[in-house]
């Protein structure tokens, strides 16, 4: 078991014919992900060779779903067109959309979130590394080889910091069930709690690492939810404790979300909920291992 993606996942890549889309689709296919097709408007009928296999390109997501029975889409479309691509996937019946694209306008994501509200479509990202179930399915830009199948779930707002945590586990012989990069944008798809719910019922997952950072109050909300609902051990790290305040977000930004956005407040909330918080980014793996041994 795992969450969201596994060997049965049928993946299409929106933006397959672009350089980033093609490169990463190839990496995913080499890892063993079942990449069944791609979408680039105007390029329907072409094929792209991925890991020695001719992969069909379609003009629309609807056509790709009809022909390939795809159920997951990964988006490498440029930022200006990415919101449109996400909603096209949702409209075509894709169950899980993973948006890798960085730099999507916030008000575009506001519309996407509103359009997806009340539907069963799940969105991961944008501005994220993607999702991987080690040994079964890699969707996104993370390096596959640092992962190893095992019992730990990871949810992270950061990309490379996730690799750091994964590597700390793998190099100590501890594998991962599923690792999800939820992305660093202010308005996004699945958040900590949505994924914790899935990890709670996943029999393979025995413990979870959450990696947060300054800004917003998602970590505080997750801490409160974990305290009341989550039965497995959780370790956490919050990045940005030393970042100068107010560089990214005005004071009103922190106030409106009902949290300070500060690392110290997030760490306090997590610790109050009984979660072990790593003191430095070098101790993330160790902190989790201490909980499960």
């Amino acid at each position: 078991m795992s969450i969201l993606v596994d060997q049965n996942t049928r993946l299409i890549i929106q933006g397959l014919t672009g350089s980033a889309g093609k490169f990463h689709a190839e990496q995913c296919a080499k890892y063993g992900t079942n990449v069944v097709g791609g979408v680039t408007p105007g390029r329907g009928g072409e094929t792209v060779e991925l890991n020695g296999k001719k992969t069909p390109v379609f003009n629309t997501v609807a056509a790709a779903v009809r022909e390939t029975a795809a159920n997951v889409s990964c988006i490498f479309v440029p930022a200006a067109f990415a919101a449109d691509a996400i909603l096209e996937a949702a409209d075509a019946g894709i169950e899980l959309v993973i948006a890798i694209t960085e730099g999507i306008p916030v008000l575009d994501m506001v519309k996407v979130k509103r359009a997806l509200a009340g539907t069963t479509v799940k969105l991961i990202g944008p501005n994220c590394p993607g999702i991987i179930t080690p040994g079964a399915c890699k969707i996104g830009i993370m390096p596959g080889y640092i992962h190893k199948p095992g019992p730990i779930g990871i949810i992270s707002r950061s990309g490379t910091l996730t690799y750091e945590a994964v590597w700390q586990l793998t190099s100590r012989g501890i594998g991962q069930s599923t690792c999800v990069g939820i992305g660093g944008d202010p308005v996004k798809g699945l958040d900590f709690i949505d994924l914790l719910e899935l990890f709670e019922t996943d029999p393979q997952t025995e413990g979870v690492i959450i990696i947060g950072e300054i800004g917003g109050n998602a970590e505080e909300q997750a801490a409160a939810w974990i305290k009341d609902n989550f039965t497995k051990p959780v370790a956490a790290f919050i990045g940005g404790a030393t970042a100068p305040p107010g560089r990214r977000m005005g004071h009103a930004g922190a106030i409106i979300s009902g949290g300070s956005g500060k690392a110290s407040d997030k760490i306090a909330a997590l610790e109050a909920a009984g979660i072990a918080v790593a003191k430095t980014p070098a101790d993330i793996g160790e902190t989790l291992i201490n909980l499960i041994k």
Partner: protein, 389 residues
């Protein structure tokens, strides 16, 4: 991206949000002329810099005649203004806003921004204006009115009425306030703003609701579809190191420590700063070289790091995923040779082709200190920078 108060007011005026009459001036003569055109004996001259707290620093002054306005402009222009938001170095005043001054009956607070918790544009309003909204939130949170807007319907009149009544702007003020709020929402959406803050919004002596000050920030991700707004960017207001970095697609933020760092990925870059601090060091910057860094970007990044005179050491922390460590190592070697590095350099590489990368660094014969793991790297650079200081 941020803009000046006078630019923000130009935008608000265009959207039918009442602001005091006024215009920008770059010289004392221009200031005098603007004042003359305003045809009033109640004038205000305001220094235009991208920072709050101007009033307390002497950057906002009242006067009665155009001649006095010219004199005040002469005093302000070229002066370094230090406020609690500029940092100790302050900012040079290069232009002033000359505007009609208004008697104030009541000061209110109004802003609109995206609330990430609900993923919608939301208004924040309070009867406590003219003070820091943080203070209001801490002391009298019940005086803050919040209203989130559904992007599918846009702002509805009942929501504007709720805010108006919450601000005590019923009765004779209601209709004009509702119109102003609906216009403000339109301005926010049309321009892809990240925040519009009006503090204070005032009731004037002649019973008008006016935006006395205005601050607008824009979503950098959306600037590609707003050439007119991009044209308002004032590079004088930005850290020259950050301007240089942005030319090379590097995400750089200057800080005041002495250990420079170069990292791939924003999260890891922040975490690297954290661990430097944990071991007693002080980061000189945040620098994310991104996932697609080439030898050229690595070289440019090094140039920027080395241009900071406070720097006593450099830490490179790369977790090569798609990016290969040998490519990074080659980039570092080339950069070190080109910029004539004279401070200690610690390099921590992990990920794809890491052994090859380490071998290249070793064989280069350059005085590069290699590290294994984050903690080792941080301890080594903190020790080396202390020695070099």
């Amino acid at each position: 991206m941020n803009i000046h108060e006078y630019q923000a007011k130009d935008i608000l005026r265009r959207y039918g949000v009442p602001v005091p009459a006024g215009n920008v001036a770059f010289t004392p003569a221009e200031a005098e002329q603007v004042a003359r055109d305003l045809k009033t004996d109640q004038l205000v001259v305001k220094a235009q810099i991208h920072a709050g707290g101007r009033g307390k620093a002497g950057g906002v002054k009242l006067c009665k005649t155009p001649e006095e306005a010219g004199k005040l402009a002469k005093e302000m222009l070229g002066k370094i203004l230090v406020t609690h938001q500029t940092g100790p170095a302050g900012k040079e005043v290069k232009k002033v806003l000359v505007a009609a001054a208004t008697g104030i009956k009541k000061e209110l607070y109004l802003s609109i921004l995206v609330d990430r918790a609900v993923g919608r544009p939301s208004f924040l309003a309070s009867t406590e204006g003219g003070v820091d909204i943080e203070t209001v939130a801490a002391n009298t949170p019940e005086k803050i009115v919040r209203e989130a807007i559904d992007p599918a319907t846009g702002m509805l009149p009942y929501q504007a009425r709720k805010i108006a009544f919450g601000l005590g702007l019923g009765g004779e003020y209601l209709q004009s306030t509702v119109t102003m709020l609906l216009n403000l929402y339109k301005a926010f959406v049309d321009t892809d703003a990240s925040m519009i803050e009006i503090n204070p919004l005032i009731i004037s002596e002649d019973n008008k609701v006016i935006a006395l000050d205005a601050k607008i920030g824009f979503d950098d991700n959306a600037l590609f579809r707003h050439k007119d707004i991009l044209a308002m960017r004032d590079l004088n207001e930005e850290d020259p190191r950050e301007v240089e970095a942005s030319k090379h697609n590097l995400n750089y933020i200057g800080l005041d420590g002495n250990i420079a760092c170069m990292v791939n990925g924003a999260g890891l870059a922040m975490a690297t700063m954290d661990i430097i601090k944990h071991y007693g060091g002080n980061p000189a910057n945040f620098l994310d070289v991104g996932g697609g860094a080439t030898q050229e970007t690595v070289t440019e990044a090094f140039k920027i790091l080395c241009s900071d005179k406070n720097v006593n050491g450099i830490l490179v922390n790369i977790f090569g995923g798609i990016m290969k460590c040998d490519v990074i190592a080659t980039g570092i070697i080339g950069a070190v040779k080109e910029v004539h590095l004279n401070v200690p350099l610690v390099v921590r590489l992990e990920g794809t082709n890491v052994e090859l990368g380490k071998k290249l660094l070793k064989e280069s014969g350059l005085p590069i200190i290699t590290a294994d793991g984050l903690a080792d790297a941080a301890q080594k650079i903190v020790a080396a920078a202390k020695k070099a200081a």
